[in-house]
């Protein structure tokens, strides 16, 4: 396995675990709450962010020596906004159905603090290949949490996964519902996402004590 050096592979693996943008750095919480009522929306958002962050980090890294530091935030913002518009237009032309499912989420990507954070903290100071890996890694770390939250919220809140009923029919009382199980309506409202994030953080810190901050 010499595809990636140890240092490079850490760029991808760290954000997935001990340096996760959502559970450790507490970035990108807003979209994690807003769009995770369904697994499908979570997954699509994750994929879009992976795309925008991978390309965005490359562009910023390429431009890192020519961007004037006074207007670097604006320059970063333009890069994200441009990429998001490109994604939006291309989807509208060639994957119209998908673009409708995504509609607002694509716009939401611009406001995702993880993206600006990585541009600022990593891509401005590192080479193209490493920036690309860092972008993909962080987007994956974000996406994994999104998918986990989406999975539990959709399963417990609606009894479905990807819109397909997996626990039986709540109205006709089949499957689990026949023995008195009920969907938990609380799970589909945004605060439930915070609770799921909290549980993930709890599990993560129980497994790795080094993550616990000094009181």
């Amino acid at each position: 396995m010499a595809l990636l050096s140890k240092k490079d592979s850490n760029l991808i693996l760290d954000p997935l675990a001990d340096n996760n943008p959502i559970t450790i750095q507490v970035l990108g919480i807003c979209s994690a709450l807003a769009i995770t009522a369904e697994l499908k929306a979570s997954l699509v958002m994750a994929i879009s962010v992976i795309f925008v962050m991978g390309i965005g980090n490359i562009v910023i890294s390429l431009l890192r020596n020519v961007i004037p530091s006074k207007i670097r935030i604006i320059a970063q913002l333009i890069v994200v906004a441009t990429l998001v518009i490109v994604v939006d237009q291309v989807l509208k032309a060639f994957a119209y159905e998908l673009s409708k499912t995504l509609s607002v989420f694509v716009g939401l990507i611009i406001t995702n603090c993880i993206i600006m954070g990585r541009f600022e903290a990593f891509a401005l100071g590192n080479g193209v290949w490493r920036s690309f890996l860092d972008g993909i890694g962080n987007a994956l770390g974000y996406g994994v949490i999104l998918v986990i939250i989406g999975f539990f919220r959709e399963l417990l809140g609606s009894g479905t996964l990807f819109g397909i009923p997996v626990l039986g029919d709540p109205i006709a009382k089949t499957g689990l519902y026949s023995i008195g199980y009920e969907n938990n309506g609380f799970m589909i409202i945004p605060p439930a996402a915070l609770i799921v994030v909290g549980i993930i953080i709890w599990v993560q810190r129980t497994r790795n004590k080094a993550l616990i901050e000094e009181a």
């Binding site: 929306a41 020519v66 530091s69 207007i71 237009q89 291309v90 060639f94 607002v104 589909i188």
Partner: protein, 249 residues
Amino acid sequence: MALNTEKNSYTVLFAVIMVAVVGSLLAFLASSLSGKIKENERFEKQQNILYAMGINENTQDSGVNFIPTNVVEDRFLEEVKGQYVWVNGEIEEDDQAFLIDIKKEFAALKAGDDARLPIFMGEKDGEELYVLPMYGKGLWDAIWGFMSVDKDMVVQGVYFDHKGETAGLGANIKLRFFMDDFIGESLMEGQSYSGIAVSKTNNDPLNEDKQDNEVDAIAGATITGNGVSAMIKETLKLYRPYLETIRNN
């Protein structure tokens, strides 16, 4: 090559070049894709209208399955017996009526100006079917749809869509479990155009009572549901003069 990126002149130059590059890139993209996007939008409207007429590829337990885009245009021309606009109390034929921007027309009408309200005619089991477009507000943004009724104002099919309702909650107005409930409900309550209310308290989750002018609401989507109720009422109000002529025929 050491570049002094701190100079003001450089900063301005950089900003100008970046804006020019990005601007022309996006302009090029938008103009080269706009034909394709317009075509997609046209097919979508045709699919939606056909869906509201009950013409789709749904099976018993499937989700929403439209007529596929490659055949939708032919199917639309075949199934829609006439496209009309209602202007100033007169009905006129217009074979591009499905492209009319409802939002503009509704706004004009409410401001007291002349408006062109599109109406599509179809047929179901030998009975005439009238498809009305709708437009309203959900929680975050616009909601819209089409509804087909027979001459007694009994709903034969609906299609709802939205711009940005919450996924898993308000966004579910475009799912079958919600839309199918409207079929068979009457828009009339005696002689008044009551519409159909999306109700949280109707005690009829299976929607067996088709005379109650109510369908069951979606949990967690109160405002979107109220938006749907209001949208139906609004459409009935605006189309009322036309609907009177159907009922009196």
